[in-house]
Symmetry: C2
Subunit: 274 residues, 2 copies
């Protein structure tokens, strides 16, 4: 029997009688400590989308990384707080049992789903003109942290500095990226893709300092038809920062499909040390 | 006895024995239906900052407008879900009693507060070069919706179209704005200022369509010292959109102080009809 894709294995939810779910971290998405934050964000979104009461498709997702997620079992508690005619509002908690045997909240999320209708539509920012993914150098991640190996990376610009010399740099990066092994794009994998960019402070300063996302938001512009059309091809990602200030910087990101149509836009505020 | 500023009147909270608060909508911030969303966002943030357990200063705020807020009493229920050494995570519910006498959730928020330490700091986007507020034309809002009269507006660019002719326009606006009457800037008023921009879809299409914010996020780059230095002077605001798609558009915004230093960056996803 073929193994499921690591993302699908990670997203396996065991429904509980009270409407919550149990899931487990997956070794394939391991970060330095605990799982890759984008995978956790995908899981929180997925718990809403899998809920029998869920209506529509994702419109927005905000994930707050309140404390470290430990490897092992996770308790996902999605709650529909309001259902309107065309939107639905969810609050989600990710809880883990700590050493004292008590459940504590490691992560919270809010999710809005919506039933969308065709209207006037236009992208107000154009995709940057860049070489095709096949013409961009592949990034060798074979010796990198495990979660980085879950993606196929094609570098365009604003790559990791080759010399860490404390010189100052612009904060924008562009790259092509897809799941590895390839996997048809869906809302969960798109949410995870919005978080793949290395910390902007590393680029700005050509210096590696400890950093971790505190709050992460995704606005979904794509519907399931656009995701299906994209399939497992590389998406184009661009990330930048607006301010680095006293321990926290912001990151803005755009994800375009192969046709140059926005799939999602994303924002996060990130802790950094020094 | 002098009247309090309308914002301070709106932010008056009555502590309840269970740690929640009761507040009331204020006629000075009336929108077409219910209160101005920025005022509601300010109130949700304020309920956390006034909570006796609150540590540090605001870092991020996400407000989800789940249903209409009715004029009258509001029940604010902030809950600290996790307190770390330097960050604290809050979930807040705004509830109102409906016609059936039951409490229902109209609005949810998540707030992260942080104790910040001095580090390497740099703005990665420069404030645009614009004329001083005193040299920009004042916008006459005497006949506009009430909440618009709570601000003093100085137009720079990307103003409301003078002709609504369905012609297509860029989506960026720049303006100077401050509370009216003047009021020293604080975190609550800064949160409200992040939401003052008219819907980007009106500008893009030179057409007024129904629109309303669904989810709104503010990242605070300023600390209380920077707010105090700004006092009651006009702040510089800039707003833009990235995508308008099937009933929802996103809006990005930056708020700078008089010195051109970022105070906050903000994002929202907004419903629109047609």
């Amino acid at each position: 029997m073929p193994q499921p894709h690591p993302l699908d294995a990670m997203l396996q939810l065991q429904p509980q009688p009270d409407g919550s779910f149990v899931a487990h971290t997956h070794a394939g998405y391991a970060n330095m400590v605990g799982p890759y934050g984008g995978a956790t964000a995908a899981l929180l979104l997925h718990s809403v989308l899998q809920h029998p009461d869920c209506l529509g498709q994702p419109l927005s997702l905000t994930v707050n990384f309140a404390g470290p997620v430990q490897d092992g079992a996770m308790h996902l508690v999605p709650r529909a707080v309001r259902t309107n005619r065309s939107t639905q509002h969810w609050v989600v908690e990710l809880r883990q049992t700590n050493a004292s045997g008590q459940e504590e909240i490691t992560t919270t999320a809010t999710v809005v789903t919506a039933v969308r209708r065709a209207t006037f539509s236009a992208d107000a920012v154009a995709a940057p003109t860049v070489p095709a993914a096949a013409d961009c150098p592949s990034v060798d991640v074979r010796r990198a942290m495990t979660w980085l190996q879950r993606y196929d990376w094609r570098a365009i610009s604003g790559n990791l500095p080759s010399v860490w010399d404390d010189s100052l740099h612009p904060t924008q990066s562009q790259l092509w990226v897809r799941d590895e092994p390839p996997r048809p794009l869906d809302f969960a994998s798109l949410a995870a893709l919005c978080d793949v960019f290395f910390p902007r402070v590393w680029l700005r300063r050509a210096r590696i300092v400890p950093a971790g996302t505190v709050s992460f938001t995704v606005y979904f512009h794509a519907d399931s038809a656009q995701l299906a059309a994209q399939g497992s091809a590389h998406v184009l990602g661009q990330a930048d920062a607006q301010a680095l200030r006293n321990g926290f910087f912001d990151q803005t990101a755009q994800i375009w499909d192969t046709q140059g149509q926005l799939l999602a836009t994303s924002h996060q505020i990130v802790y950094y040390k020094e």
